[in-house]
Symmetry: none
Subunit: 224 residues, 4 copies
DNA sequence: GATGAATGAGTGTTCATTCAT
DNA sequence: CATGAATGAACACTCATTCAT
């Protein structure tokens, strides 16, 4: 899994709400904490992708992140926090992508949607395994944190809905229910990480992506 | 979750894995073993849906299935086997549905596809939680067993592909790539169990289902 | 520490209230649980006396009690429970002694008090180290359990108070405040286990006991 | 707990243990070390009284004493040293009290004993919780240090013995065995911190003290 | 076949202590 | 002298699995 490092500086911007761990930690230097949290998230995500959250032991997480056990626990309170950190890091990228890509500056609805699809598919290819992880392990997340994740996710869908509404207003898109369509589109875009094992037997990634794009435009341009 | 019991007789067809649960102990009555395996799968699935596989303990599985610990281990070898049994039971229903519904007896492609969609959505609604479980926990399955599961899954997709090809031959469906379309359709049909938390805020199940049906027909009837 | 086994059959009589652990345990055979709890208490008490509660590890407790770790945890929920079991076992002996010794059948107050003192000193000598343990580690006990322990302890003191009142009524004892006197007497009787390191430099146990007896009679027979 | 600061100057007399806290680091200013040791003892004692020695972490000790972790370890070598410092500080007050109170300047044995009792009870009331701590946690002390503590304690008892002998010589006290009596007296005087939970249900502190005084005089004035 | 007590490797977590800055 | 991040041995506890009855 390549990590899209060009996104990193922006990652934790909107997420003062994700403070780890909930209660005070040992370490006092706040900048350091942020740095280490990122280090944990990056290392642990790779491990979780490989072994799954439950089968990864704290000792393995330490090795994967380059921490000693005690030191790791200076930055988290429980193992669950590690998963939260992983989600915090990647789900931010995941759900706040469009704002960061300048998609909303594009006027032409067709071009805007095409951009939104392509950029998303690029990101999805980069984060393939993380996306699978985010699907399979999100139900492990603490209730409160899961709520935030879902909120982010629906925020992402709203972004697509906005693009669709823009196209509808300009009489380019023919769909009647942009909310449902946005859900379908966002869902469809993840087909490759989730069900790719079958598609990949016949197509390479870019063939899949091209077809997805066509399907989505088809969906958006034809009367329902 | 209602379990569609009319499917049960066919369920355990192809799984050598469970034929001799314990090397040393010869359980003669094979019919009994099958009965007990079903009992385990039914009880355990409910538990796994509630708690997840990893957080469910063997003791809880015993309680949920009505076995004592020692007795349960007469029918399985490891905890993983329980998950396999659950998959074995439900994934058979899941992937061999269409054959059992008489869908292939229908001549008219439109009618056939409509039937295939509706029957599937019905089943998906019944098995909502199991489907989520099958997505999230399939990666826990032993390698060999996972292969069987995926084979079943692709068999299901092939069924849809066959329906599409039938419609293409009869000049009803306009699609060029029935393999890809089948994958997309099967994937789309599961949107509710997997991403329903967002859709359900606006629609009830049947509204979702109606929209899905329309989308799929749209997809199939329009030139790509 | 010799364990006064002749008391054992009576030990758990009055203490249905002490159920370990608070919530259900794995083991179903209740008689077995009682037997094992006793085994735990006897083994652990020796260890705690030697090392103290906090320095004793669960593995040492296992070795001292003859359990494997997992099996020990079939009978307790936490390490604290082991201490509670120890207290439960010995504090019962400790605080319900007099009823079991026939002291209350004696009519003559002098004889009754003498008996109460001697029997107690005998017990105290047997339980020397346990008494020290009960003093030093009682503050570790869970709040609720400590309350029961203190109630038992005050019940013991009440027994002495009753003996004193009997002597006052029969004009043998001259004391005005039997409650305070009973507290002092019970406290004094434990001087050897608690502060014996100094006394033992000059006296043997029976010399200490003889002197204590004299002091208490002095206290009880003279006008305040 | 008020700390009787007027005793402090004499406190750290006889404890080579803390003269060079760290082999490698030569802290030149010995006066500073003494000051810091006192700071540690005062802060830590409050914490130990509240949580017990074992449950108090070094981090909590730091917070309670106003040190940073690294700095604290400039003045001690192990956590046990903190307990030793606490004992060193308070046990000195505890066992060298009488010399500092001018008790030995009093000629009249009755007056002298009364003074010795009252001053002691005053101190005991001030140090209530510390006394309980000194009882419960003394067995944690390193062997060598415990010996010093016990020596101090027996020194205290000797002081009372001296007072008693003085009274015997002057034909005021009737006791035959001043050593035993001194042990009993010193032990009795601590009844309130150790067993007060029962007494305090009926009496306030001064009522307890008055009764104790009477009992001790009774003990000392009557033929055994 | 059924029972449930026993096993012990392995887990997440704590915390006294060290040491670079 | 002071700081606090880093270390890792040790801990309490869990739970899949076995096996005597």
């Amino acid at each position: 899994m390549r990590i899209p490092t060009h996104h990193m500086p922006k990652m934790q911007r909107n997420h003062a709400k994700f403070e780890f761990p909930k209660n005070g930690i040992q370490i006092k230097n706040l900048e350091l904490v942020r740095k280490k949290h990122l280090q944990i998230a990056l290392g642990a995500s790779k491990l979780f992708v490989k072994k799954g959250y439950h089968k990864a032991t704290m000792r393995e997480i330490c090795k994967a992140t380059g921490f000693t056990i005690g030191n790791l626990y200076d930055y988290i309170k429980t193992k669950d926090d590690v998963l939260c950190l992983v989600f915090d890091t990647f789900h931010s990228i995941w759900s706040h992508q469009l704002e960061n890509e300048g998609v909303f500056d594009i006027e032409d609805p067709m071009e805007q949607l095409r951009m939104a699809i392509r950029k998303r598919l690029e990101l999805i290819n980069q984060l393939r395994d993380m996306i699978l992880l985010m699907y399979t392990d999100s139900k492990i997340l603490p209730r409160e944190f899961l709520k935030t994740v879902l909120k982010n996710e629906s925020y992402l869908i709203e972004n697509y809905e906005r693009i669709l509404r823009n196209g509808i207003e300009k009489n380019v898109f023919k769909i009647k229910d942009p909310f449902f369509a946005a859900n379908v589109i966002v869902y469809l875009l993840s087909i490759e990480p989730l069900r790719g094992w079958n598609l990949r037997r016949k197509y390479n990634i870019s063939q899949i992506n091209r077809r997805l794009e066509k399907y989505i435009f088809n969906l958006v341009l034809n009367r329902e």
